[in-house]
Amino acid sequence: MDVILEGLTKAFQLLASFDREVLGIALLSLKVSGLATLFSLLIGLSVGTLVALTSFPGKKILVSVVNTGMGLPPVVVGLFVSIMLWRNGPLGYLELLYTPTAIVIAQTVIATPIVMGVTIGAMQNLPASLRLQILALGATRTQLVWMLIKEARLPLMAGVMAGFGGVISEVGASIMVGGNVRGYTRVLTTATVMETGRGNFDMAIALSVILLLFCFAVNYLLTYIQQRERPR
């Protein structure tokens, strides 16, 4: 019991004093996962919309692949990105392995199928006649797509939140491609793993509390969005 109590007390001391190291780790996590979410939004939303609004042979297979990708194990992504970025790998010349950029790349790979899958689902859930109605109102193709995205904005936001929640709390890929370099690629999850291993429970708890706060914020937003009145 003492370990826990002591850990908690010290953890709150670290938080209350705005410990520079803890703060730095938290900010890096936010930055890396925020960027990864942004990129996954750009790719996932555009490709997802295109897939949802067009029909082509093999569409069902593609959608199934994307949906499978929504649950991609982070270690597998970490392995794949590591191989790609390895010194002798295809993208080795970029010298990105063990940099924050590498973590952003890996997390983008994890979050993109989530955003894309949710986008496809949300767009396909809109009534088919809505497209006709918007075109009949005099919309151009671009205006049509924009209005459909606006109509699906709630589930799309939920998808973005889910993507962000997924990458900020994953550890496997971050540690594999980032390397947990102190002050450089150390993020909340990788730091927590390391501090726990060393027996520094106070630090680990402080980091976990911040991570939990992030997750809570994300889930609060999600719940808020989902509990809004459902469209008829």
Partner: protein, 366 residues
């Protein structure tokens, strides 16, 4: 008088779906200020025709001309869609306020903010929606949502408007109120319109032309009276049901006892129509009684006309008689009565029906 120019002309339209032709229309047109109703069973191709006229349906062949010029390129179709409007059965409102919904067509056309505000306000007012401009479109009742979707369509001030069963599944008072609002604006602004409906009285009341469709083809088209009284085939006859429809004008109304002038004769009925109103008197064939001698004057049937049988046709268990009483009247009689009264073509008879069995429909002026 020169023939008014057509707003829309459609030629050689064919739409296939899954290898089956679902629409085959050699020609169809809509003239200035004209109100056309499309009627027919489900799957007759009515909605497909509307969508084709707006270029929203993939077609195998066919050309559409708008005011004489062919619509071919996608920018020409966009131009056409920006001069027309469509109201679907499902109101399909956007997830925003009532104001934003009514403004949506104007925003798409790049209209300035100030102008949008003015235009939307005036249309909200016309559809009695002024007080709910800021309300979320998700929180409206079914009738209110239809009202918003109508206001949204009319706000773009279209030259042609298409309605695809806009009032289905609404309670009768709401339906009537909406129909009246719609009819008023269409007349005020001189908009040409096509209405897809299942409601024959709606079609009769509002349209100058009725088009009957079945199996992707136009089976018959003409004035409401022509289509209802002179169906070209059994399908149309069965579909329109109301066999006798007479054009008339209300002569007098004494405490809802109405006398309607029809082809030089008077038909007694009941209703609210004022003298001078142009109406259709609709009489179901099963409500017409036929006798060979002058019937008992004590009968409650207020309408009694001498006439002559001009046509007899079989309708299964009973026979359909076309009677010339100065106007054409259709009656059903059983085979038994037919034999007993020794009826045949050319036979002089008396036709009678009660004032309450005449259904009056106000007629839209041509």
């Amino acid at each position: 008088m020169t023939k008014p120019q057509n707003v829309l002309d459609l030629k050689e339209l064919r739409v296939d779906r899954g290898g089956v032709t679902v629409l085959d229309i050699p020609s169809f047109s809509l003239s200035e200020n004209e109100f056309v109703s499309l009627i027919g069973p489900n799957g007759a191709g009515k909605s497909t025709l509307l969508l084709s006229l707006m270029g929203l349906m993939k077609r195998q062949s066919g050309s559409v001309c708008y005011r004489g010029s062919t619509v071919a390129s996608s920018s020409q179709w966009l131009e056409l869609r920006r001069r027309t409007a469509m109201v679907l059965q499902d109101p399909l409102l956007f997830d925003s306020t009532v104001f934003d919904n009514v403004a949506s067509g104007l925003k798409l056309r790049g209209m300035g903010r100030g102008e949008i505000k003015k235009r939307v306000a005036s249309y909200l007012e016309r559809f009695n929606l002024g007080h709910m401009a800021e309300r979320s479109a998700r929180k409206l009742s079914g009738g209110e949502a239809r009202r918003v979707s109508l206001a949204r369509a009319f706000a773009v001030e279209p030259e042609v408007i298409f309605f695809d069963e806009p009032f289905a599944n609404l309670d009768p008072p709401t339906r009537q109120a909406l129909t009246e609002d719609m009819d008023r604006i269409i007349r005020d602004r001189g908009i040409a319109a096509i209405l897809v409906t299942h409601d024959q009285s709606e079609a009769l009341r509002m349209s100058q032309r009725i088009v009957v469709m079945n199996g992707g083809r136009i089976v018959q088209q003409g004035t409401p009276a022509a289509v209802m009284n002179h169906p070209v085939n059994e399908f149309v006859a069965n579909f329109v049901g109301m066999e006798t429809i007479l054009e008339g004008e209300v002569k007098s109304n004494h405490e809802q006892q109405i006398a309607v002038q029809v082809a030089g004769r008077e038909v007694d009925t009941v209703g609210d129509e004022r003298p001078g109103a142009q109406v259709y008197c609709c009489i179901r064939p099963e409500n017409v009684t036929v006798s060979v001698s002058h019937p008992d004057p004590k009968t409650s049937a207020r309408n009694l006309y001498p006439g002559r049988v001009v046509e007899v046709s079989s309708m299964g268990p009973f026979l359909k008689l076309r009677l010339d009483c100065g106007f054409m009247l259709t009656a059903y009689v059983t085979r038994e009565s037919f034999a007993k009264l020794e009826l045949c073509e050319g036979k002089e008879v008396y036709a009678s029906f009660k004032a309450t069995s005449v259904h009056l429909i106000r007629r839209r002026a041509a």
